[in-house]
């Protein structure tokens, strides 16, 4: 379909007048066409106003009571706090309400925790997936970085095809307040910043960072820099590693 043909579908879509298959195809298109999405949003506003053209009619007075009566039987989904019931009814229901309220609050808190931890897990898994993909990519190169004294060590693995670097650091105490660690790639003697990082209190870190496209480098190095990182290293690297590319 040409773009022009798609825009023909915006009006019937806004009115809900597309046949199911046509609607499905158009919705697929909508997902990546901002122009049609804007058009649909605007035409839906028009469609919604058509409700106002319905011939005026007065609902029976009893309908208001019915609406309120039916609502009083259920609470809004995930209501943020319980409603204010008339005090007599509230008193009469106190014992029950306490029990239900407690169960409800506990259940709600539980659900919120679940939703949050689910989102967090999803992020963690996505990050982990990407990290593993970089480590396992066929073109992965590695560099072991050793300190010039003892303690800390690091291993850097990168994939030119994925433009990603995975950095694993061991036994490196977190940078002092206001300072950060910065990873560099040394290309033809010139340092290029890969990213800043810090370790956890146990001195470890595994993190993925973006790798500039087409960057060829011979060395990787780590320096300690002011928070936010520096454009160029301000001190001699305390961790340096020579590149051993995958063949």
């Amino acid at each position: 379909m040409t773009d022009h043909q798609w825009t023909e579908l915006t009006a019937p879509y806004a009115l809900g007048a597309l046949d199911p298959e046509e609607r499905a195809r158009f919705e697929t298109h909508l997902a990546d066409c901002a122009v049609c999405r804007a058009e649909v949003r605007s035409l839906k506003e028009v469609a919604v106003l058509l409700a106002e053209s319905a011939p005026a009619a007065t609902p029976p007075a009893s309908l208001r009571d019915r609406v309120l009566r039916e609502a009083s039987r259920v609470r809004p989904i995930g209501a943020r706090r319980p409603g204010r019931a008339p005090w007599l009814a509230a008193a009469a229901c106190l014992v029950l309400a306490l029990g239900l309220g407690y169960a409800y609050l506990r259940e709600r808190a539980e659900r919120e925790r679940t939703v949050q931890s689910l989102a967090a897990s999803r992020d963690t898994i996505a990050a982990r997936d990407s990290l593993v993909a970089t480590l396992l990519s066929p073109d992965a190169g590695t560099a072991a970085l050793a300190a010039t004294g003892q303690a800390p060590s690091a291993r850097v693995t990168w994939s030119p095809s994925r433009h990603r670097v995975v950095m694993a650091v061991f036994r490196l105490p977190p940078a002092p307040v206001g300072r950060t660690y910065q990873l560099w790639a040394i290309a033809k003697g010139k340092p290029v910043s890969i990213g800043v990082f810090n370790t956890s209190p146990d001195g470890r870190l595994v993190a993925e960072m973006p790798l500039p496209v087409d960057l060829k480098f011979e060395l990787t190095a780590v320096t300690e820099e002011p928070a936010g990182g520096s454009p160029q290293p301000t001190q001699t690297p305390f961790l340096v590693g020579k590149v051993s590319p995958a063949d």
Binding site: L15, S53, A54, L63
Partner: protein, 214 residues
Amino acid sequence: MRKNRTDANFEAVPDDQQVKAGVPDRALVERMAAGEERALGALYDRHGGMAYALALAIVREGADAEEVVADAFGQVWRSATQYDAGRGSVAGWLATITRTRALDLVRARGRRTRAVERAARADPDGLATPLGTPADRADRQIERHEARRLVTRSLAELPEPQRRVIELAYFGGLSQTEIADELQEPLGTVKTRMRAGMEKLRGSLAPLLVGGSS
């Protein structure tokens, strides 16, 4: 312009009557999301007439329309926490829910909508014939009155064939193909009329549209 009372003012007014004035619809929905039934009552007082009129324009009997409205407000109440102001007005949200419920009810009963009945009889007045007495009463309804008037007039000003296909889609719940069958017109004609009619409406209803055409 509507004066928006702040939440703090609203909080300070205990009287039921006061809920109705000034408070934006959006604030009512927030209160509903907090479980406040009084806010639902206020929302009903504002938009119950519109919802009922809309339901009645789709279903054919008052009892069915009442059921639709009770269901629709029930859904609005239950899902008040999910209302997203970025996706349109509260009235629009309620109208969309009401329309969907009304069309579902008609389909579930294997009936035809009132709009389709009228179209089948080639009623030249379309839906514009009043079916009851005006629901609006107090002067706070003036804004709503003006909106109604503009929408009704804009629709009435459309060429009759364009108005009919739009009404059959919105109030009749018919697809373009079904409309073509119903009117025994070529599908291409129906498509052209629908698009042209909606474009004209967008122009004449511009004062009521928030998002504009961009």
